[in-house]
């Protein structure tokens, strides 16, 4: 019962969905202000979701029906699990279990995988191209991302529980304060941008060439699920980085404001990167991640071993 409550309501689905929609409003509003526009009203993301829930869901005749309908659900469940785990551990670091960091890393890949499944199962050639690009992107950013996450583990002397990492940071200062931690944070932010499939790494969706990519055939409720997953990721990934690198979010009253500021700060960085960069080609993105970014991540790992 308690687990269900955690999963569905408080740190889980409802809370993350509300926070995610709020972040996606911040995203759209800041984007609009950067472009000297007024931007959408506050409730716009919620209205979009409600509208999509009320629309007809079309099943393309070429699609594999079960996979087509199931993949958005998988993505939504994956990101909800991540968020639940992260918040429970943030509230109570002792609730952590061995290897939860690895579990979270795996679960974070699930939304991308659900997009790939949905794209391939919809039987649309453009969706297939988008899905194949998403797959290449996943393969390219996963290596530096994991290397960057390795840095806090090494620096704390092999702690692999998220709760322990939080406790370590509470006593010894945040990881982002050291040279290796700062470099790892930069790498992780760039990988996060790719995980969210935002410009400059939005080639799977590329509105101007692939007109929506993997989700091109989705409509109505299933599209709403994808939009919601996207919004929830926009909130959950900054939370993950804040917990791993910048010391987590304290849930007491005045300290919580500082925690929220950390999340919003990361969010604004994401939005500014997205608004000031052109889209890369997929081969350029793979080169970028496997070349310079992995190099930086390796440098951070080496520095962490040296104790810097």
């Amino acid at each position: 019962m308690k687990v269900l409550f955690y999963f569905l309501i408080l740190p889980g689905f409802l809370f993350t969905a509300a926070a995610g929609l709020l972040s996606s409003w911040i995203d759209r509003k800041v984007t609009a202000r950067v472009q000297w526009r007024v931007g959408p009203p506050f409730l716009q993301p919620l209205i979009d979701i409600v509208k999509l829930l009320g629309k007809e869901t079309i099943l393309p005749s070429t699609a594999n029906k079960i996979t087509f309908l199931l993949s958005p659900v998988i993505g939504l469940v994956g990101i909800t699990l991540v968020s639940t785990l992260l918040w429970i551990m943030d509230a109570n670091p002792n609730a952590s279990f061995i290897g939860d960091l690895i579990v979270v890393l795996y679960l974070l890949a699930i939304p991308s995988i659900s997009v790939i499944m949905g794209g391939f199962s919809s039987g649309n050639p453009i969706a297939s191209i988008g899905a194949s690009r998403e797959m290449k992107l996943l393969l390219s950013y996963e290596l530096p991302f994991i290397l960057a996450i390795l840095v806090p583990v090494i620096k704390s002397g092999g702690l692999i529980k998220i709760g322990q990492l939080l406790n370590y940071q509470a006593h010894n200062g945040v990881f982002a304060g050291s040279a290796s931690g700062a470099i790892a944070l930069v790498v992780a932010i760039i990988c996060m941008q790719a995980k969210l499939a935002l410009v400059p790494f939005d080639m799977p969706e590329a509105e101007t060439e692939l007109i929506g990519g993997p989700i091109i055939e989705y409509s109505g409720t299933v599209l709403a699920m994808y939009k919601l997953t996207r919004a929830m990721m926009l909130f959950t990934l900054p939370v993950f980085l804040v917990i791993i690198f910048i010391g987590g979010i304290e849930l007491a009253f005045p300290a919580a404001i500082w925690g929220i500021l950390k999340i919003v700060g990361l969010l604004v960085i994401i939005i500014l990167i997205r608004n000031t960069n052109p889209r890369l080609r997929i081969d350029q993105a793979v080169k970028l991640f496997w070349g310079p970014i992995t190099g930086l991540a390796v440098l951070a790992v080496v520095l962490a071993f040296l104790g810097k």
């Binding site: 759209r28 609009a32 472009q35 000297w36 526009r37 007024v38 931007g39 959408p40 009203p41 716009q44 209205i47 979009d48 409600v50 509208k51 009320g54 629309k55 007809e56 869901t57 079309i58 509105e207 101007t208 007109i211 929506g212 989700i215 091109i216 055939e217 989705y218 409509s219 109505g220 599209l223």
Partner: protein, 142 residues
């Protein structure tokens, strides 16, 4: 009014369907999303896939080859959806009337909800047209 319709009117995602226009109307439609007019204020977004669309902005005479495609695109749109005919061409075939390429006018191919005249209509006129469409639907359902 049902919550479904209310949400639809507050976040109409627009798909841009061009069939045999001279491309001038299309440029005026794109003007609507520039900072000067910024239709995202009303929750409107230009979407690339017709499956995501709520409003079809149709421009151009529907020529003989395009006719079946326009019909197919209308059928591919998830309902409820609205159709707006932008420009004289889409309203009444405009200057192309009587040309060998002209088939039936748009409103005989798919049901049209509102007509926006002009060759091309100004962005203000397009926004006004959509506002009138929203008012019309609100009035109908009251």
């Amino acid at each position: 009014m049902s919550i479904k319709l209310k949400a639809l009117l507050k976040s109409p995602w627009v798909f841009h369907l061009c069939s045999g226009s001279c491309n001038n109307c299309d440029i005026e439609i794109l003007d609507c999303i520039t900072p000067r007019y910024d239709i995202e204020r009303f929750g409107m977004l230009l979407v690339g896939s017709v499956r995501h669309a709520d409003v079809l902005l149709c421009t151009g005479i529907v020529n003989k080859l395009g006719e079946s495609r326009v019909k197919r695109i209308y059928n591919q749109t998830p309902k409820p959806c609205l159709v707006v005919a932008v420009g004289n061409c889409a309203n009444s075939q405009g200057v192309f009337r009587g040309s060998y390429a002209c088939g039936k006018p748009l409103d005989q191919v798919i049901p049209v909800d509102i007509y926006i005249p002009g060759c091309p209509p100004k962005p203000e006129a397009i926004i006004l047209g959509v506002v009138k469409l929203i008012e019309k639907i609100k009035g109908k359902k009251k």
